[in-house]
Protein backbone atom coordinates (compact mmCIF):
# COMPACT_ATOMS: atom_id res chain seq x y z
CA UNK A 1 0.00 0.00 0.00
CA UNK A 2 2.67 2.43 1.12
CA UNK A 3 4.70 1.99 -2.02
CA UNK A 4 1.63 2.44 -4.15
CA UNK A 5 0.62 5.67 -2.56
CA UNK A 6 4.06 7.31 -2.66
CA UNK A 7 3.85 10.59 -4.45
CA UNK A 8 6.14 11.03 -7.43
CA UNK A 9 7.56 14.41 -6.49
CA UNK A 10 8.50 13.36 -3.00
CA UNK A 11 10.26 10.25 -4.23
CA UNK A 12 12.35 12.32 -6.58
CA UNK A 13 13.16 14.79 -3.82
CA UNK A 14 14.29 12.10 -1.42
CA UNK A 15 16.20 10.48 -4.23
CA UNK A 16 17.96 13.76 -4.92
CA UNK A 17 18.69 14.16 -1.21
CA UNK A 18 20.30 10.72 -1.14
CA UNK A 19 22.25 11.55 -4.30
CA UNK A 20 23.62 14.74 -2.79
CA UNK A 21 24.28 12.82 0.41
CA UNK A 22 22.08 15.16 2.43
CA UNK A 23 19.98 13.74 5.23
CA UNK A 24 16.25 14.03 4.39
CA UNK A 25 14.81 16.64 6.71
CA UNK A 26 12.40 15.23 9.22
CA UNK A 27 9.78 17.72 8.22
CA UNK A 28 9.77 16.32 4.68
CA UNK A 29 9.48 12.79 5.99
CA UNK A 30 6.51 13.73 8.15
CA UNK A 31 4.83 15.42 5.21
CA UNK A 32 5.33 12.34 3.08
CA UNK A 33 3.83 10.03 5.68
CA UNK A 34 0.92 12.38 6.17
CA UNK A 35 0.25 12.47 2.47
CA UNK A 36 0.32 8.72 2.07
CA UNK A 37 -2.03 8.41 4.98
CA UNK A 38 -4.38 10.83 3.31
CA UNK A 39 -4.20 8.86 0.08
CA UNK A 40 -4.89 5.61 1.86
CA UNK A 41 -7.83 7.19 3.63
CA UNK A 42 -9.37 8.56 0.44
CA UNK A 43 -8.72 5.28 -1.29
CA UNK A 44 -10.65 3.48 1.43
CA UNK A 45 -13.35 6.09 1.26
CA UNK A 46 -13.65 5.68 -2.52
CA UNK A 47 -13.84 1.90 -2.35
CA UNK A 48 -16.50 2.15 0.34
CA UNK A 49 -18.42 4.71 -1.72
CA UNK A 50 -18.49 2.29 -4.67
CA UNK A 51 -19.82 -0.48 -2.43
CA UNK A 52 -22.44 1.85 -0.96
CA UNK A 53 -23.66 2.82 -4.43
CA UNK A 54 -23.89 -0.81 -5.51
CA UNK A 55 -25.81 -1.51 -2.31
CA UNK A 56 -28.04 1.51 -2.91
CA UNK A 57 -29.42 0.03 -6.15
CA UNK A 58 -30.11 -3.19 -4.32
CA UNK A 59 -31.82 -1.30 -1.49
CA UNK A 60 -33.97 0.67 -3.94
CA UNK A 61 -35.25 -2.46 -5.67
CA UNK A 62 -35.81 -4.30 -2.39
CA UNK A 63 -37.54 -1.18 -1.06
CA UNK A 64 -39.86 -1.05 -4.05
CA UNK A 65 -40.89 -4.68 -3.56
CA UNK A 66 -41.28 -4.16 0.20
CA UNK A 67 -43.29 -0.94 -0.07
CA UNK A 68 -45.68 -2.49 -2.58
CA UNK A 69 -46.17 -5.59 -0.44
CA UNK A 70 -46.67 -3.72 2.82
CA UNK A 71 -49.07 -1.19 1.36
CA UNK A 72 -51.23 -3.81 -0.29
CA UNK A 73 -51.79 -5.74 2.94
CA UNK A 74 -55.14 -4.04 3.78
CA UNK A 75 -56.56 -5.07 0.43
CA UNK A 76 -55.21 -8.60 0.74
CA UNK A 77 -56.86 -8.86 4.15
CA UNK A 78 -60.16 -7.45 2.91
CA UNK A 79 -60.45 -9.25 -0.42
CA UNK A 80 -58.23 -12.29 0.01
CA UNK A 81 -57.26 -14.34 -3.02
CA UNK A 82 -60.61 -13.67 -4.70
CA UNK A 83 -59.13 -10.28 -5.61
CA UNK A 84 -57.67 -12.00 -8.66
CA UNK A 85 -60.90 -13.23 -10.23
CA UNK A 86 -63.50 -10.92 -8.72
CA UNK A 87 -65.44 -9.49 -11.67
CA UNK A 88 -66.66 -6.43 -9.81
CA UNK A 89 -64.62 -3.30 -9.19
CA UNK A 90 -66.90 -1.04 -7.19
CA UNK A 91 -65.19 1.46 -4.87
CA UNK A 92 -68.54 2.79 -3.62
CA UNK A 93 -69.54 -0.64 -2.31
CA UNK A 94 -65.93 -1.35 -1.29
CA UNK A 95 -65.70 -4.41 -3.52
CA UNK A 96 -62.51 -4.84 -5.52
CA UNK A 97 -61.95 -7.51 -8.12
CA UNK A 98 -59.05 -7.26 -10.53
CA UNK A 99 -60.42 -9.57 -13.22
CA UNK A 100 -61.55 -6.82 -15.69
CA UNK A 101 -58.11 -5.22 -15.52
CA UNK A 102 -56.19 -8.49 -15.72
CA UNK A 103 -58.23 -9.39 -18.79
CA UNK A 104 -57.74 -5.91 -20.26
CA UNK A 105 -53.99 -6.04 -19.72
CA UNK A 106 -53.64 -9.51 -21.20
CA UNK A 107 -55.88 -8.72 -24.19
CA UNK A 108 -54.12 -5.46 -25.11
CA UNK A 109 -50.63 -6.89 -24.62
CA UNK A 110 -51.14 -10.09 -26.57
CA UNK A 111 -53.09 -8.39 -29.37
CA UNK A 112 -50.29 -5.84 -29.63
CA UNK A 113 -47.70 -8.60 -29.77
CA UNK A 114 -49.59 -10.51 -32.47
CA UNK A 115 -49.93 -7.36 -34.57
CA UNK A 116 -46.31 -6.32 -34.10
CA UNK A 117 -44.57 -9.66 -34.65
CA UNK A 118 -44.72 -9.72 -38.50
CA UNK A 119 -43.34 -6.19 -38.56
CA UNK A 120 -40.57 -6.63 -36.02
CA UNK A 121 -39.45 -9.93 -37.52
CA UNK A 122 -39.43 -8.41 -41.00
CA UNK A 123 -37.27 -5.55 -39.74
CA UNK A 124 -34.97 -8.02 -38.00
CA UNK A 125 -34.56 -10.14 -41.15
CA UNK A 126 -34.23 -7.05 -43.35
CA UNK A 127 -31.46 -5.58 -41.19
CA UNK A 128 -29.80 -8.82 -40.21
CA UNK A 129 -29.83 -10.72 -43.48
CA UNK A 130 -30.91 -8.84 -46.62
CA UNK A 131 -29.40 -5.41 -46.06
CA UNK A 132 -26.98 -5.66 -43.17
CA UNK A 133 -24.83 -2.77 -44.47
CA UNK A 134 -25.31 0.46 -46.38
CA UNK A 135 -27.31 3.62 -45.99
CA UNK A 136 -30.66 1.90 -46.35
CA UNK A 137 -30.05 -0.30 -43.33
CA UNK A 138 -28.62 2.61 -41.29
CA UNK A 139 -31.68 4.67 -42.10
CA UNK A 140 -34.13 1.93 -41.16
CA UNK A 141 -32.20 1.04 -38.01
CA UNK A 142 -32.14 4.63 -36.78
CA UNK A 143 -35.78 5.16 -37.65
CA UNK A 144 -36.81 2.08 -35.72
CA UNK A 145 -34.79 3.27 -32.74
CA UNK A 146 -36.58 6.62 -32.90
CA UNK A 147 -39.90 4.78 -32.62
CA UNK A 148 -38.76 3.72 -29.16
CA UNK A 149 -37.70 7.27 -28.31
CA UNK A 150 -41.05 9.00 -28.86
CA UNK A 151 -42.70 9.63 -25.45
CA UNK A 152 -45.71 7.44 -24.79
CA UNK A 153 -47.94 10.42 -23.97
CA UNK A 154 -47.40 11.64 -27.54
CA UNK A 155 -48.42 8.23 -28.90
CA UNK A 156 -51.53 8.53 -26.78
CA UNK A 157 -52.33 12.04 -27.99
CA UNK A 158 -51.79 11.12 -31.62
CA UNK A 159 -53.78 7.93 -31.21
CA UNK A 160 -56.67 9.80 -29.64
CA UNK A 161 -57.02 12.26 -32.53
CA UNK A 162 -55.84 10.27 -35.54
CA UNK A 163 -56.12 6.56 -34.86
CA UNK A 164 -59.37 6.55 -32.89
CA UNK A 165 -61.47 8.21 -35.66
CA UNK A 166 -60.07 5.68 -38.16
CA UNK A 167 -60.97 2.78 -35.86
CA UNK A 168 -64.40 4.32 -35.33
CA UNK A 169 -65.04 4.43 -39.07
CA UNK A 170 -63.85 0.84 -39.32
CA UNK A 171 -66.23 -0.21 -36.54
CA UNK A 172 -69.14 1.54 -38.26
CA UNK A 173 -68.42 -0.51 -41.36
CA UNK A 174 -68.31 -3.71 -39.33
CA UNK A 175 -71.62 -2.80 -37.75
CA UNK A 176 -70.53 -2.82 -34.11
CA UNK A 177 -70.96 -0.04 -31.55
CA UNK A 178 -68.55 2.63 -32.79
CA UNK A 179 -66.77 3.59 -29.59
CA UNK A 180 -63.49 4.25 -31.38
CA UNK A 181 -61.66 4.12 -28.11
CA UNK A 182 -61.23 0.68 -26.63
CA UNK A 183 -59.03 -2.36 -26.36
CA UNK A 184 -58.45 -2.68 -30.10
CA UNK A 185 -57.26 0.92 -30.51
CA UNK A 186 -55.00 0.59 -27.47
CA UNK A 187 -53.50 -2.60 -28.91
CA UNK A 188 -52.79 -0.86 -32.21
CA UNK A 189 -50.88 1.95 -30.50
CA UNK A 190 -49.07 -0.53 -28.26
CA UNK A 191 -48.06 -2.64 -31.25
CA UNK A 192 -46.32 0.38 -32.80
CA UNK A 193 -44.56 1.11 -29.53
CA UNK A 194 -43.18 -2.41 -28.98
CA UNK A 195 -41.89 -3.02 -32.53
CA UNK A 196 -38.36 -1.70 -31.80
CA UNK A 197 -37.71 -4.07 -28.89
CA UNK A 198 -38.24 -7.36 -30.69
CA UNK A 199 -36.76 -5.94 -33.91
CA UNK A 200 -33.41 -4.87 -32.48
CA UNK A 201 -33.10 -8.07 -30.46
CA UNK A 202 -33.88 -10.18 -33.53
CA UNK A 203 -31.35 -8.28 -35.61
CA UNK A 204 -28.58 -8.91 -33.07
CA UNK A 205 -29.45 -12.59 -32.97
CA UNK A 206 -29.50 -12.99 -36.75
CA UNK A 207 -26.09 -11.34 -36.95
CA UNK A 208 -24.70 -13.95 -34.59
CA UNK A 209 -25.55 -16.86 -36.87
CA UNK A 210 -22.16 -18.35 -37.86
CA UNK A 211 -21.49 -17.61 -41.56
CA UNK A 212 -20.16 -21.16 -42.30
CA UNK A 213 -23.62 -22.54 -41.51
CA UNK A 214 -25.24 -20.23 -44.03
CA UNK A 215 -22.50 -20.76 -46.61
CA UNK A 216 -22.87 -24.49 -46.27
CA UNK A 217 -26.56 -24.25 -47.02
CA UNK A 218 -25.97 -21.95 -50.00
CA UNK A 219 -23.35 -24.30 -51.42
CA UNK A 220 -25.89 -27.13 -51.26
CA UNK A 221 -28.11 -25.00 -53.51
CA UNK A 222 -30.49 -23.54 -50.95
CA UNK A 223 -32.30 -20.34 -51.88
CA UNK A 224 -32.25 -17.31 -49.61
CA UNK A 225 -35.67 -18.13 -48.22
CA UNK A 226 -34.60 -21.70 -47.48
CA UNK A 227 -31.52 -20.46 -45.65
CA UNK A 228 -33.65 -18.13 -43.55
CA UNK A 229 -36.23 -20.78 -42.78
CA UNK A 230 -34.00 -23.76 -42.10
CA UNK A 231 -30.77 -22.15 -40.83
CA UNK A 232 -31.42 -18.69 -39.40
CA UNK A 233 -34.80 -19.20 -37.78
CA UNK A 234 -33.95 -22.44 -35.97
CA UNK A 235 -30.64 -20.98 -34.81
CA UNK A 236 -32.17 -17.75 -33.50
CA UNK A 237 -35.38 -19.28 -32.17
CA UNK A 238 -34.66 -18.75 -28.49
CA UNK A 239 -33.28 -15.26 -29.09
CA UNK A 240 -36.38 -14.26 -31.03
CA UNK A 241 -38.49 -15.61 -28.20
CA UNK A 242 -36.54 -13.50 -25.73
CA UNK A 243 -37.13 -10.44 -27.90
CA UNK A 244 -40.87 -11.15 -27.86
CA UNK A 245 -40.75 -11.50 -24.07
CA UNK A 246 -39.04 -8.11 -23.74
CA UNK A 247 -41.73 -6.59 -25.96
CA UNK A 248 -44.38 -8.22 -23.81
CA UNK A 249 -42.84 -6.83 -20.62
CA UNK A 250 -42.87 -3.43 -22.18
CA UNK A 251 -46.49 -3.74 -23.34
CA UNK A 252 -47.75 -4.94 -19.96
CA UNK A 253 -46.36 -1.95 -18.10
CA UNK A 254 -47.16 0.73 -20.65
CA UNK A 255 -49.41 3.29 -19.02
CA UNK A 256 -50.00 6.65 -20.63
CA UNK A 257 -50.80 5.81 -24.25
CA UNK A 258 -53.14 3.03 -23.13
CA UNK A 259 -54.82 5.18 -20.49
CA UNK A 260 -55.65 7.80 -23.09
CA UNK A 261 -57.16 5.40 -25.61
CA UNK A 262 -58.63 2.41 -23.81
CA UNK A 263 -61.80 4.12 -22.58
CA UNK A 264 -61.37 3.57 -18.84
CA UNK A 265 -64.33 1.54 -17.69
CA UNK A 266 -64.24 -1.01 -14.92
CA UNK A 267 -66.65 -3.38 -16.64
CA UNK A 268 -65.48 -6.67 -18.03
CA UNK A 269 -64.84 -6.10 -21.76
CA UNK A 270 -67.32 -7.95 -23.99
CA UNK A 271 -65.12 -8.15 -27.08
CA UNK A 272 -61.87 -6.64 -28.34
CA UNK A 273 -63.63 -3.52 -29.61
CA UNK A 274 -65.28 -2.57 -26.32
CA UNK A 275 -63.69 -0.09 -23.93
CA UNK A 276 -61.84 -1.48 -20.96
CA UNK A 277 -59.01 -0.78 -18.57
CA UNK A 278 -55.59 -2.23 -17.87
CA UNK A 279 -53.89 -2.59 -14.52
CA UNK A 280 -51.57 0.30 -15.28
CA UNK A 281 -54.32 2.57 -16.60
CA UNK A 282 -56.64 2.01 -13.64
CA UNK A 283 -53.81 2.96 -11.28
CA UNK A 284 -53.08 6.08 -13.31
CA UNK A 285 -56.74 7.10 -13.30
CA UNK A 286 -57.84 6.34 -9.78
CA UNK A 287 -54.77 6.55 -7.56
CA UNK A 288 -55.13 10.22 -6.65
CA UNK A 289 -58.90 9.83 -6.17
CA UNK A 290 -58.73 6.84 -3.85
CA UNK A 291 -60.09 8.11 -0.54
CA UNK A 292 -60.49 4.81 1.33
CA UNK A 293 -57.65 2.72 2.74
CA UNK A 294 -58.81 -0.48 1.08
CA UNK A 295 -59.40 1.32 -2.24
CA UNK A 296 -55.88 2.73 -2.30
CA UNK A 297 -54.48 -0.57 -1.15
CA UNK A 298 -56.35 -2.46 -3.88
CA UNK A 299 -54.75 -0.18 -6.46
CA UNK A 300 -51.34 -0.85 -4.94
CA UNK A 301 -52.02 -4.57 -5.05
CA UNK A 302 -52.60 -4.14 -8.78
CA UNK A 303 -49.22 -2.40 -8.90
CA UNK A 304 -47.65 -5.29 -7.01
CA UNK A 305 -49.15 -7.78 -9.49
CA UNK A 306 -47.86 -5.72 -12.39
CA UNK A 307 -44.43 -5.53 -10.77
CA UNK A 308 -44.22 -9.29 -10.21
CA UNK A 309 -45.42 -10.18 -13.71
CA UNK A 310 -43.05 -7.78 -15.49
CA UNK A 311 -40.11 -8.83 -13.32
CA UNK A 312 -40.67 -12.51 -14.10
CA UNK A 313 -41.07 -11.85 -17.82
CA UNK A 314 -38.02 -9.61 -18.03
CA UNK A 315 -35.85 -12.00 -16.02
CA UNK A 316 -36.90 -14.87 -18.25
CA UNK A 317 -36.07 -12.85 -21.37
CA UNK A 318 -32.70 -11.73 -20.02
CA UNK A 319 -31.80 -15.27 -18.95
CA UNK A 320 -32.54 -16.62 -22.43
CA UNK A 321 -30.47 -13.89 -24.06
CA UNK A 322 -27.57 -14.51 -21.69
CA UNK A 323 -27.60 -18.22 -22.43
CA UNK A 324 -27.81 -17.50 -26.14
CA UNK A 325 -24.90 -15.06 -26.20
CA UNK A 326 -22.68 -17.27 -24.06
CA UNK A 327 -23.03 -20.31 -26.27
Amino acid sequence: MGANTDNGTITSKTGMARLLNIKTPDILKAKRIKRSHRHIRSEHFFRQLLIIMALLILVIVAGIALTLSVESVPSMKAMGISFLWGKMWNPVADIYGAYPFLLGTLLTSFLALIISIPFSFSIAIFLGEYYSKGWLSTLLKNTVELIAAVPSVIYGFWGLYVLVPIVRAFELKLGITPYGIGIFSASLILSIMVIPYAASMGREMIRMVPPPLKEGAYSLGATRYEVIRSIILPYTKSGMFAGILLSLGRALGETMAVTMIIGNTSLVPKNIFSPGNTMASVIANEFTEADKTVYLSALIELGLLLFLVTVVINMLGKRIIKRFTNE
Partner: protein, 281 residues
Protein backbone atom coordinates in the same frame (compact mmCIF):
# COMPACT_ATOMS: atom_id res chain seq x y z
CA UNK B 1 -34.45 -24.67 -65.52
CA UNK B 2 -36.83 -27.13 -64.03
CA UNK B 3 -40.20 -26.03 -62.74
CA UNK B 4 -39.25 -27.00 -59.23
CA UNK B 5 -36.21 -24.72 -59.13
CA UNK B 6 -38.22 -21.88 -60.61
CA UNK B 7 -40.80 -22.44 -57.91
CA UNK B 8 -38.16 -22.30 -55.18
CA UNK B 9 -36.59 -19.13 -56.54
CA UNK B 10 -40.02 -17.58 -56.89
CA UNK B 11 -40.80 -18.44 -53.31
CA UNK B 12 -37.54 -16.85 -52.18
CA UNK B 13 -38.28 -13.66 -54.11
CA UNK B 14 -41.82 -13.56 -52.78
CA UNK B 15 -40.54 -13.90 -49.21
CA UNK B 16 -38.04 -11.12 -49.78
CA UNK B 17 -40.74 -8.80 -51.06
CA UNK B 18 -42.95 -9.60 -48.09
CA UNK B 19 -40.11 -8.79 -45.69
CA UNK B 20 -39.32 -5.53 -47.47
CA UNK B 21 -43.02 -4.64 -47.51
CA UNK B 22 -43.54 -5.19 -43.78
CA UNK B 23 -40.25 -3.50 -42.88
CA UNK B 24 -41.11 -0.38 -44.85
CA UNK B 25 -44.72 -0.29 -43.62
CA UNK B 26 -43.56 -0.35 -40.01
CA UNK B 27 -41.90 3.05 -40.29
CA UNK B 28 -45.09 4.64 -41.63
CA UNK B 29 -46.61 5.24 -38.16
CA UNK B 30 -43.51 7.13 -37.05
CA UNK B 31 -43.62 9.29 -40.18
CA UNK B 32 -47.34 9.84 -39.66
CA UNK B 33 -46.83 10.88 -36.04
CA UNK B 34 -43.95 13.22 -36.87
CA UNK B 35 -45.90 14.73 -39.74
CA UNK B 36 -49.08 15.21 -37.73
CA UNK B 37 -47.40 16.65 -34.64
CA UNK B 38 -45.32 19.05 -36.72
CA UNK B 39 -48.34 20.15 -38.77
CA UNK B 40 -50.49 20.75 -35.70
CA UNK B 41 -47.75 22.08 -33.46
CA UNK B 42 -45.72 24.39 -35.63
CA UNK B 43 -48.43 27.04 -36.00
CA UNK B 44 -48.83 27.28 -32.22
CA UNK B 45 -45.21 27.81 -31.33
CA UNK B 46 -43.98 31.36 -31.04
CA UNK B 47 -42.21 33.48 -28.45
CA UNK B 48 -45.44 34.22 -26.61
CA UNK B 49 -46.19 30.48 -26.42
CA UNK B 50 -42.85 29.71 -24.82
CA UNK B 51 -42.86 32.53 -22.29
CA UNK B 52 -46.41 32.65 -20.95
CA UNK B 53 -48.42 30.44 -18.61
CA UNK B 54 -51.64 28.81 -19.87
CA UNK B 55 -54.73 31.02 -19.85
CA UNK B 56 -58.04 29.79 -18.45
CA UNK B 57 -60.44 28.19 -20.89
CA UNK B 58 -62.08 30.71 -23.21
CA UNK B 59 -59.27 33.26 -23.26
CA UNK B 60 -57.11 33.12 -26.37
CA UNK B 61 -53.33 32.91 -26.15
CA UNK B 62 -51.37 31.53 -23.29
CA UNK B 63 -48.36 29.30 -23.40
CA UNK B 64 -46.44 26.56 -21.72
CA UNK B 65 -43.67 28.41 -19.87
CA UNK B 66 -44.60 26.76 -16.55
CA UNK B 67 -44.37 23.28 -18.05
CA UNK B 68 -41.17 24.03 -19.93
CA UNK B 69 -39.43 25.41 -16.85
CA UNK B 70 -40.86 22.65 -14.67
CA UNK B 71 -39.71 19.91 -17.04
CA UNK B 72 -36.22 21.37 -17.20
CA UNK B 73 -35.95 21.69 -13.42
CA UNK B 74 -37.32 18.24 -12.69
CA UNK B 75 -35.07 16.60 -15.28
CA UNK B 76 -32.03 18.60 -14.14
CA UNK B 77 -32.48 17.64 -10.49
CA UNK B 78 -33.08 14.01 -11.46
CA UNK B 79 -29.84 14.01 -13.48
CA UNK B 80 -27.83 15.63 -10.69
CA UNK B 81 -28.98 12.90 -8.33
CA UNK B 82 -28.82 9.92 -10.68
CA UNK B 83 -25.62 10.55 -12.65
CA UNK B 84 -23.08 10.21 -9.77
CA UNK B 85 -24.88 7.20 -8.31
CA UNK B 86 -25.21 5.49 -11.68
CA UNK B 87 -21.60 6.10 -12.72
CA UNK B 88 -20.14 4.98 -9.37
CA UNK B 89 -22.29 1.87 -9.40
CA UNK B 90 -21.20 1.22 -12.98
CA UNK B 91 -17.56 1.53 -11.91
CA UNK B 92 -18.15 -0.96 -9.12
CA UNK B 93 -19.75 -3.46 -11.46
CA UNK B 94 -17.04 -3.10 -14.11
CA UNK B 95 -14.36 -3.62 -11.42
CA UNK B 96 -16.07 -6.60 -9.84
CA UNK B 97 -17.05 -9.03 -12.54
CA UNK B 98 -17.79 -11.73 -10.00
CA UNK B 99 -18.74 -11.59 -6.36
CA UNK B 100 -21.93 -11.73 -4.40
CA UNK B 101 -22.69 -8.01 -4.18
CA UNK B 102 -21.94 -7.52 -7.88
CA UNK B 103 -24.26 -10.40 -8.77
CA UNK B 104 -27.16 -9.06 -6.73
CA UNK B 105 -26.52 -5.52 -7.83
CA UNK B 106 -26.57 -6.56 -11.46
CA UNK B 107 -29.79 -8.44 -10.88
CA UNK B 108 -31.26 -5.36 -9.22
CA UNK B 109 -30.34 -3.22 -12.24
CA UNK B 110 -32.00 -5.76 -14.54
CA UNK B 111 -35.15 -5.73 -12.43
CA UNK B 112 -35.17 -1.95 -12.19
CA UNK B 113 -35.00 -1.68 -15.98
CA UNK B 114 -38.16 -3.75 -16.34
CA UNK B 115 -40.30 -2.13 -13.64
CA UNK B 116 -43.24 -0.23 -15.18
CA UNK B 117 -42.86 3.49 -14.63
CA UNK B 118 -46.25 3.79 -12.95
CA UNK B 119 -45.11 1.40 -10.21
CA UNK B 120 -42.14 3.64 -9.48
CA UNK B 121 -44.61 6.52 -9.21
CA UNK B 122 -46.63 4.65 -6.58
CA UNK B 123 -43.56 3.76 -4.55
CA UNK B 124 -42.12 7.27 -4.56
CA UNK B 125 -45.54 8.51 -3.47
CA UNK B 126 -45.14 6.48 -0.29
CA UNK B 127 -41.45 7.29 0.14
CA UNK B 128 -41.61 11.03 -0.32
CA UNK B 129 -45.00 12.55 -1.09
CA UNK B 130 -46.74 11.16 1.99
CA UNK B 131 -43.94 11.90 4.51
CA UNK B 132 -43.36 15.39 3.08
CA UNK B 133 -47.08 16.09 3.25
CA UNK B 134 -47.80 16.96 -0.37
CA UNK B 135 -46.95 16.60 -4.03
CA UNK B 136 -43.62 18.12 -4.98
CA UNK B 137 -41.31 18.49 -7.95
CA UNK B 138 -38.53 17.00 -5.83
CA UNK B 139 -40.37 13.70 -5.43
CA UNK B 140 -40.92 13.67 -9.20
CA UNK B 141 -37.19 14.13 -9.71
CA UNK B 142 -36.45 11.19 -7.41
CA UNK B 143 -38.88 8.99 -9.35
CA UNK B 144 -37.21 9.95 -12.63
CA UNK B 145 -33.74 9.51 -11.11
CA UNK B 146 -34.63 5.91 -10.18
CA UNK B 147 -35.71 5.37 -13.78
CA UNK B 148 -32.42 6.78 -15.10
CA UNK B 149 -30.23 4.50 -13.00
CA UNK B 150 -30.37 1.27 -15.04
CA UNK B 151 -29.31 2.99 -18.27
CA UNK B 152 -26.52 4.91 -16.53
CA UNK B 153 -25.16 1.85 -14.72
CA UNK B 154 -25.30 -0.34 -17.83
CA UNK B 155 -23.67 2.19 -20.14
CA UNK B 156 -20.88 2.94 -17.64
CA UNK B 157 -20.23 -0.73 -16.96
CA UNK B 158 -20.20 -1.72 -20.62
CA UNK B 159 -17.97 1.21 -21.60
CA UNK B 160 -15.40 0.62 -18.88
CA UNK B 161 -15.30 -3.10 -19.65
CA UNK B 162 -14.21 -2.23 -23.18
CA UNK B 163 -11.12 -0.34 -21.99
CA UNK B 164 -7.87 -2.30 -21.96
CA UNK B 165 -6.85 -3.67 -18.57
CA UNK B 166 -3.27 -2.45 -19.18
CA UNK B 167 -4.46 1.15 -18.84
CA UNK B 168 -5.41 0.62 -15.23
CA UNK B 169 -2.33 -1.48 -14.52
CA UNK B 170 -0.03 1.18 -15.95
CA UNK B 171 -1.58 3.89 -13.82
CA UNK B 172 -1.41 1.76 -10.68
CA UNK B 173 2.22 0.85 -11.45
CA UNK B 174 3.06 4.55 -11.51
CA UNK B 175 1.92 4.66 -7.91
CA UNK B 176 -1.37 6.42 -8.33
CA UNK B 177 -3.93 5.76 -5.65
CA UNK B 178 -6.92 3.68 -6.73
CA UNK B 179 -9.49 6.47 -6.66
CA UNK B 180 -7.32 8.70 -8.82
CA UNK B 181 -6.73 5.89 -11.30
CA UNK B 182 -10.48 5.48 -11.61
CA UNK B 183 -11.48 9.14 -11.70
CA UNK B 184 -8.53 10.63 -13.59
CA UNK B 185 -7.52 7.83 -15.98
CA UNK B 186 -10.29 5.31 -16.54
CA UNK B 187 -13.31 7.63 -16.49
CA UNK B 188 -11.86 10.20 -18.94
CA UNK B 189 -10.96 7.38 -21.34
CA UNK B 190 -14.53 6.14 -21.35
CA UNK B 191 -16.18 9.53 -21.14
CA UNK B 192 -17.71 9.26 -24.62
CA UNK B 193 -19.62 6.11 -23.83
CA UNK B 194 -20.65 7.34 -20.40
CA UNK B 195 -21.90 10.67 -21.76
CA UNK B 196 -23.94 8.86 -24.39
CA UNK B 197 -25.50 6.87 -21.57
CA UNK B 198 -26.27 10.07 -19.68
CA UNK B 199 -27.91 11.66 -22.72
CA UNK B 200 -29.89 8.54 -23.53
CA UNK B 201 -31.17 8.31 -19.98
CA UNK B 202 -32.21 11.97 -20.05
CA UNK B 203 -33.99 11.43 -23.35
CA UNK B 204 -35.72 8.41 -21.86
CA UNK B 205 -37.09 10.24 -18.81
CA UNK B 206 -37.84 13.63 -20.40
CA UNK B 207 -41.05 12.23 -21.86
CA UNK B 208 -42.09 10.14 -18.87
CA UNK B 209 -45.53 10.96 -17.56
CA UNK B 210 -46.65 8.05 -15.41
CA UNK B 211 -44.19 8.49 -12.52
CA UNK B 212 -45.01 12.20 -12.31
CA UNK B 213 -48.76 11.74 -11.96
CA UNK B 214 -48.55 11.04 -8.23
CA UNK B 215 -45.37 13.00 -7.50
CA UNK B 216 -44.95 16.31 -9.33
CA UNK B 217 -48.71 16.29 -9.95
CA UNK B 218 -48.91 19.37 -12.17
CA UNK B 219 -49.63 23.02 -11.56
CA UNK B 220 -51.33 25.60 -13.78
CA UNK B 221 -49.05 28.37 -12.50
CA UNK B 222 -45.37 29.13 -12.78
CA UNK B 223 -43.63 27.47 -9.83
CA UNK B 224 -39.94 27.49 -8.97
CA UNK B 225 -40.07 25.98 -5.48
CA UNK B 226 -39.06 22.35 -5.87
CA UNK B 227 -41.03 21.35 -2.79
CA UNK B 228 -44.29 22.48 -4.39
CA UNK B 229 -46.30 20.74 -7.13
CA UNK B 230 -44.86 21.60 -10.53
CA UNK B 231 -46.07 21.29 -14.11
CA UNK B 232 -44.06 19.40 -16.68
CA UNK B 233 -44.44 19.01 -20.45
CA UNK B 234 -45.69 15.39 -20.46
CA UNK B 235 -48.15 16.11 -17.65
CA UNK B 236 -49.47 19.17 -19.47
CA UNK B 237 -49.92 17.17 -22.67
CA UNK B 238 -51.76 14.42 -20.81
CA UNK B 239 -54.07 16.75 -18.89
CA UNK B 240 -54.86 19.07 -21.77
CA UNK B 241 -55.14 16.38 -24.45
CA UNK B 242 -57.80 14.55 -22.44
CA UNK B 243 -59.71 17.77 -21.66
CA UNK B 244 -62.74 18.70 -23.75
CA UNK B 245 -61.54 22.23 -24.63
CA UNK B 246 -60.22 23.15 -28.07
CA UNK B 247 -57.90 25.89 -26.70
CA UNK B 248 -56.21 23.40 -24.44
CA UNK B 249 -55.77 20.92 -27.28
CA UNK B 250 -53.88 23.62 -29.16
CA UNK B 251 -51.57 24.12 -26.19
CA UNK B 252 -51.06 20.37 -25.98
CA UNK B 253 -50.14 20.13 -29.71
CA UNK B 254 -47.56 22.87 -29.30
CA UNK B 255 -46.19 21.24 -26.15
CA UNK B 256 -46.03 17.88 -27.94
CA UNK B 257 -43.91 19.36 -30.68
CA UNK B 258 -41.56 20.97 -28.15
CA UNK B 259 -41.23 17.71 -26.22
CA UNK B 260 -40.77 15.66 -29.37
CA UNK B 261 -38.05 17.98 -30.66
CA UNK B 262 -36.30 17.88 -27.28
CA UNK B 263 -36.31 14.08 -27.06
CA UNK B 264 -35.44 13.41 -30.70
CA UNK B 265 -32.67 15.99 -30.66
CA UNK B 266 -31.07 14.34 -27.63
CA UNK B 267 -31.28 10.98 -29.39
CA UNK B 268 -29.79 12.26 -32.63
CA UNK B 269 -26.97 14.11 -30.86
CA UNK B 270 -26.15 10.97 -28.90
CA UNK B 271 -26.05 8.98 -32.14
CA UNK B 272 -23.84 11.44 -33.97
CA UNK B 273 -21.32 12.12 -31.23
CA UNK B 274 -20.85 8.63 -29.92
CA UNK B 275 -20.84 6.46 -32.98
CA UNK B 276 -17.58 4.81 -32.02
CA UNK B 277 -18.94 3.62 -28.66
CA UNK B 278 -20.92 0.63 -29.67
CA UNK B 279 -22.78 -0.03 -26.43
CA UNK B 280 -25.66 -2.40 -26.07
CA UNK B 281 -28.26 -1.09 -23.68
Amino acid sequence: MSVHIKYRIGKSTAFKSIVIFFASVSILPLIAILFYIIREGVTKINWHFLTHVPKPVGEPGGGISNALLGSMMIVAIASVIAVPVGILCGIYLSEHKTGRLAYWSRLAVDILQGIPSIVIGIVVYFWLVKPLGGFSAFSGSIALAIMMLPILVRSTEETLKMLPQSLKEAALALGMPYHRVMLKVILPCGIGGILSGVMLSIARIAGETAPLLFTAFGNPFLETNIFKPMQSLPLLIFNYATSPYEDWHDLAWGASLVLLLWVLLLNVITKLTTRKWNIQL
